[in-house]
């Protein structure tokens, strides 16, 4: 099978998954339909207002009709409005999503990098030195961090690095409130006028990339860049460190399987140095199967992101989900659930295509 055939087949397989995911979010938003309606009504609870909402959301049709309207709305970017309050008339969920997504992506990407950077050497070392002290210690460490409650680890990190801490020096301390010390860096006082720094316009909506670390660097605002980096460091360490254990375990078993195969023995017996065998023969072959569990690992990692954002006050999707769940903002809850799911679906897609590209045998199945 050619690679592009495989990719097309994989994309077609994604359609039922996407429809199923939309079905679940549909069920979630329609199971408690009165909550949804009263949320859209706002404070005006009259039969007319209720009827207007029902008409606008096409809730008077039968089940299938409603689902079709829902699917069309989801895929045309019409995700509804956040719950209105006395001071906030409610804004389109898509706008809120554009504001909230980049910080979470930033955190998740750096956390994934930390996870991979930790697990690659540990997993390979553990397999090569099987059953020796290094292996036992590595497995112990991996299992330890795998068993830590993420939120608790975040709190312990805050205990260590919080302001006034005696453990770390002041320049490493961080109160764990959001992405940076906003007052200090984003609000500029010049010639008697307060202005916002160019990278901080509109709550992040018109930034070049949306990633604070990249934007501050693009505009050359180095103090703000360093501060943003410091604020990014701790939560991503929390997420990365608590999710690398699973990856080490899979990498180890995959590596052990590869090391037991004939071509490794052949390579060793013809005198290829051990280091070279591991680097060139074993590692490449064992990385392929490990990528397939990357999707599951990322699902776990995103769950960690949700909790960590809550603890560090990170203004991303997780905080949005938490705030929405606290204030019964149904549309936002559904939107965050949907976005997290789509991220995982796409991550799985990329991982599968990558695997098929790296290992042509996969395409034959």
């Amino acid at each position: 099978m050619k690679l592009y055939v495989y990719i097309i087949r994989r994309l077609l397989l994604m359609i039922p998954v996407l429809l199923g995911v939309v079905a679940i979010t549909f069920a979630l938003s329609h199971v408690n339909i009165n909550l949804l309606i009263s949320e859209y009504e706002g404070r005006i609870h009259t039969p007319q207002a209720r009827q207007a909402v029902i008409n606008a959301l096409h809730l008077n049709g039968n089940f299938l009709e409603q689902y079709l309207y829902y699917v069309v709305a989801v895929f045309t970017g019409n995700w509804g409005y956040t719950a209105p309050s006395d001071i906030d008339p409610g804004s389109p969920v898509v706008l809120e999503f554009m504001r909230r997504f980049p910080p979470t992506a930033e955190l998740a990407i750096v956390a994934t990098l930390i996870m991979v950077a930790l697990s690659l050497p540990l997993g390979i070392l553990s397999a090569v030195k099987k059953d020796r002290l290094v292996d036992q210690a590595t497995r112990l460490i991996a299992m330890f961090f795998y068993s830590i409650p993420v939120f608790w680890f975040g709190l312990i990190i805050i205990l260590i690095i919080g302001p006034g801490s005696k453990i770390v020096p002041p320049w490493l301390q961080d109160s764990g409130t959001g992405q940076l010390n906003f007052q200090q860096y984003a609000i500029i006082y010049k010639n008697g006028v307060y202005t916002l720094a160019p990278w901080a316009v509109q709550g992040g909506l018109s930034r070049p990339t949306g990633f604070l670390v990249i934007d501050t660097a693009l505009y050359g605002d180095w103090p703000a860049f360093l501060d943003a980096l410091k604020h990014l460091m701790y939560p991503s360490i929390v997420v990365g460190v608590t999710s690398f254990g699973v990856f080490v375990r899979y990498l180890r078993s995959s590596m052990l399987e590869t090391l037991g195969q004939d071509f490794i023995r052949t390579a060793k017996s013809k005198g290829v140095p051990e280091r070279y065998v591991i680097k060139k023969h074993a590692r490449r072959n064992s990385l392929g199967p490990t990528t397939t569990i990357m999707g599951l690992t990322i699902a776990g990692l995103l769950a960690g992101v949700v909790v960590t954002e809550n603890i560090f006050g990170w203004p991303g999707m997780g905080t949005w989900l938490y705030d929405a769940a606290v204030s019964d903002d149904l549309v936002s809850i559904i939107a965050t659930t949907f976005v997290f799911t789509i991220v995982i679906v796409i991550a799985n897609l990329i991982v599968d295509i990558l695997y098929a590209y790296l290992d042509p045998r996969v395409r034959l199945e």
Partner: protein, 315 residues
């Protein structure tokens, strides 16, 4: 004739039980050779005993924590007391006794986790064996559905569930099972797919055994071992998720539920936010260590079991 027949069946049954016991003894022997697994087993047994019998040694309602508003003439609602002989683990915000809550929490956490994991495993075993044995369109449908559920991050779906449907124990258990069955379905299906090609299944089919008999007598008993490993690992995972959910405040009951995550949540949401824990570190560290030790020992046990039950690793 019929008496003889039933006798023979009975002795066959006893023999099969004996052989299973023998294999169990062998498994146990291999398990005891790994020090980490033994430590894990011992701590797990201790925690389970605590969960079963702990309630006899603590005061008050088994579901809620004991609140002490005054101690030695001092109003302690907002000032947690450090560990002392009266309060072995100290108190937390709201004047709740941490030791008391942790003992009660053992029963709640372990009970809820056991219900979730066992129901999820049962659902997975049934669906997975059916999908694997019959194959074809049934297999396709079941596997696509597991794909869908495996794509949704569990914690996010749980928060959505609890926020939309209400914060009750039934909804929580239902939500967890929705998340936890696909993993088991996949494991069992993979096992059954390889088992159903074996000669004894073919022989049984040729002898006219029904699909139900083949699945329950031949396939499930042989495919079940990876599920045991997964159950021991997932028990810890469920407890972690449960604690996280309760920490965030989306658990199944009110503020004073005696649940390990909720005890930590009381400390950080109680007074002035996360930073206040610097003044009262024990309100966070102790309940977290209790969770960590239990989940870690479950993972030791599960890892040991995996090594023992996987014959490739036993060598």
């Amino acid at each position: 004739m019929s008496v003889n027949n039933s006798n023979r069946e009975e002795s066959e049954f006893v023999r099969s039980l004996l052989s299973r016991f023998e294999s169990f003894k062998r498994t146990f022997y291999f398990l005891t050779r790994s020090p980490l697994a033994v430590i894990g087993l011992a701590i797990t047994i201790f925690y389970i005993l605590l969960g079963i019998f702990g309630d006899f040694f603590v005061k008050g309602n088994p579901w809620t924590m004991v609140q002490i508003l005054e101690y030695k003439g001092q109003y302690i609602y907002n000032t947690p007391l450090p560990p002392s002989s009266t309060f072995p683990f100290g108190t937390t915000y709201g004047g709740y006794d941490i030791f008391n809550g942790i003992i009660k929490g053992a029963r709640i956490d372990e009970g809820v986790a056991a219900i979730i994991v066992l129901t999820g495993a049962l659902t997975g075993v049934i669906l997975g064996s059916i999908a694997g044995y019959f194959g074809g369109i049934i297999d396709d449908i079941v596997m696509r559905v597991t794909d869908i559920f495996l794509s949704i991050p569990g914690l996010v779906l749980l928060i959505a569930f609890m926020a939309i449907l209400g914060r009750t124990l039934e909804i929580l258990v239902f939500g967890f099972i929705v998340i936890w069955w696909p993993g088991y379905t996949r494991i069992i299906r993979g096992q059954v797919l390889s088992l159903r090609e074996l000669k004894y299944v073919e022989a049984s089919k040729a002898a006219g055994a029904s699909a139900f008999r083949i699945i329950t007598k031949h396939l499930i008993p042989n495919a079940i071992y990876p599920v045991f490993v997964q159950v021991s690992l997932d028990f810890g995972n469920v407890i972690l998720s449960l604690a996280t959910l309760d920490y965030l405040g989306f658990g199944f009951a009110g503020q004073n539920l005696a649940e390990w995550g909720n005890i930590i949540g009381l400390a950080t949401h109680g007074a002035s936010g996360v930073l206040s824990i610097e003044n009262y570190p024990w309100t966070v560290t102790i309940p977290g260590l209790i969770i960590l030790i239990f989940v870690l020992s479950l993972n030791f046990l599960g890892d040991g079991l995996r090594d023992v039950l996987d014959p490739k690793m036993r060598r």
